[in-house]
Amino acid sequence: MKNLGPRLRGGDSSALPRLVVEARGIHKHFGALHVLKGVDLLVAERELVFIIGPSGSGKSTLLRCLNRLEEPTAGTVVIDGVDLLDARTDINHARQRIGMVFQSFNLYPHMTALGNVTLALRKVAGRSRAKADELGRAALARVGLADRAGHRPGELSGGQQQRVAIARAIALEPRVMLFDEPTSALDPELVGSVLGVMRSLRESGMAMVVVSHEMGFARNAADRVLFMDQGVIVEQGSPAAIFESPTQQRTRAFISQIRH
C-alpha cells in the first residue's frame, strides 16, 4: 500500500503547511440534481475550516464526499496523500484517517460507550482487546466521559452521546475530522459541552472541517469560513472577513438572515 505513506508537498515541509485534504473539482449529481458544481477544498494541517450556507447548498454532501460516503461524480479527493477515488486505494484503511461526526450521533445502541469507541480499533486497526480498551478509555477521557465507559448510549444525554461519537472517531487518530452539523440535534443547554470538546481538539492541532450553524464557534475557532450556495463556494475568508465584510451579495443576504 505504497500510496499510504506521507507525502511532503514541494519537498520542503517547513515552507508550506502540509495539506491533509485536497479535494478538487468535485461534482456530485443525484439523478438530475446537480448538487456540487466543481468545488475545491484544501485544508492544511492544524487548520479549522468552517462551512456555512443555506440548507440544500451542498455542504453536507461535500463533507460526505471527503470520506466517500458519497461518491463524487467527478473530481479528486486526496486525504493525507491518499487518493480516495483511486480503485487501488483500500477505502476502509484510508477511512481510519478521516474521523466523522454526524448530526444524529449514530452510536451503536447495543454497545457500551467503550464498545462504541473500541469496535474499529479492534476490527480495523487490529488492536488487541486490552490495547483497544486502553486507547478507548483515553479517548473517552479526552471528551470528559471517562466515567461513562460502561454506559449504553440510551443512558447518556444527547451531548454525552455526541462526545462519545467524537471519541469513537478520534480514537483512531485521524488526520482530519469532519463534523456534519454536530450540535443541530442537541438541546441548547447541551451544545456547549460538545463545542468545548471541539475547541480542545482544535487546540491539540487536529485539522477539522465543520458544517454547522454555530456562528459564535465559527467566529472564535475557525481559521477560514466558506460560504456555499447552490453547489458552489461563493466566498471564503477569515471569520472576520466573511461575517463583517462579505463581498458577495448572496453571502451578505445569508449573514444578515442568520443574524436575525
Binding site: 476502509n92 454526524f102 444524529s104 452510536l107 451503536y108 445502541p109 447495543h110 486497526a125
Partner: protein, 226 residues
C-alpha cells in the same frame, strides 16, 4: 358408569397410558429430533438468504423473493405430500422423516428470511454510515453493528413463527413418521381408547411450553434503551 367415569376412562385411562407410555416417549424423541433439525436448518437458511439479499444483486433478490413467497403461500402439508409422494417419480425417495424435515425447514426458511430481512432493513442508515466511516468493511458492519441490533428486533416475531412451524412436525404422521402424534394415533387404534392422545398432548406441552417461555424471556432480555 357415570358420564364422568366414562370421560376419565376415555382420556385418562391409567392402564392404557402406562401401557403406551414407552411408545409416546419414543415419539417424543423423534419429534424433538425433527423439531431441532427444522429449527436449526430453517433459521440458518433464512438468515443466509437474508444476508445474501442484503448484498443487493437484483436477479438474486428476485429469485429469493420468489422462493420465499412460494414457501410462505403453500400449506406445509402440501409440501410434505409433494416431496414424499412426488419425488419418488424422479428417482428420489426421501423418507417421511426427511420429507417433513425438508418441508418445514423450507417454510421456516421462507418466513424467517422475511423476518430477518425486515430486521436488517429497519436498522437506520446512520448506523451503516457511522461504522463505515470508521473503516469497518461491509461485512464487519453487517456482523458487528447491524445484525446484533436486527436480531434483537426479530426475536418476538421469530419465536412465534418458529413455534408455529415446529408444531407442524405433527403433520409427519401423514407420511408415517413415528413422532408423537403418529405413535399416539396407532396406540389409540390398538387400544380402542383415546388416552394415548392425552399423553401426546402432554408431551407437546412439555416440549413447546418451555419454548414459549424462553421466547418471552428473550424478548424482555434482548431490549435496550435507545
Amino acid at each position: 358408569m357415570s358420564n364422568w367415569e366414562r370421560f376419565v376412562d376415555a382420556f385418562f385411562n391409567a392402564r392404557v397410558m402406562a401401557r403406551y407410555f414407552p411408545d409416546i416417549a419414543y415419539g417424543t424423541l423423534v419429534t424433538i429430533e425433527l423439531a431441532a433439525l427444522v429449527i436449526v436448518t430453517g433459521l440458518a437458511a433464512g438468515l443466509a438468504l437474508a444476508l445474501l439479499r442484503s448484498l443487493g444483486f437484483r436477479p438474486v433478490n428476485l429469485l429469493i423473493v420468489f422462493v420465499v413467497d412460494l414457501f410462505r403461500a403453500l400449506p406445509p402439508l402440501v409440501i410434505i405430500v409433494f416431496i414424499y409422494f412426488g419425488l419418488p417419480s424422479v428417482e428420489l425417495s426421501p423418507s417421511g422423516f426427511v420429507s417433513t424435515w425438508l418441508s418445514l425447514a423450507l417454510v421456516l426458511m421462507a418466513f424467517s428470511e422475511e423476518i430477518f430481512w425486515a430486521g436488517i432493513t429497519s436498522i437506520a442508515k446512520g448506523q451503516w454510515e457511522a461504522a463505515r466511516s470508521t473503516g469497518l468493511s461491509y461485512g464487519q458492519t453487517l456482523f458487528n453493528v447491524v445484525l446484533p441490533q436486527a436480531i434483537r428486533l426479530t426475536i418476538p416475531p421469530l419465536t412465534n413463527r418458529t413455534i408455529a412451524i415446529t408444531k407442524g412436525t405433527a403433520l409427519a404422521t401423514v407420511v408415517a413418521v413415528h413422532e408423537i402424534l403418529g405413535m399416539a394415533s396407532s396406540a389409540v387404534s390398538n387400544s380402542y381408547n383415546p388416552s394415548p392422545l392425552t399423553l401426546g398432548a402432554i408431551a407437546y406441552l412439555i416440549l413447546f411450553l418451555p419454548m414459549v417461555i424462553v421466547g418471552r424471556w428473550l424478548e424482555t432480555r434482548m431490549t435496550w434503551k435507545r
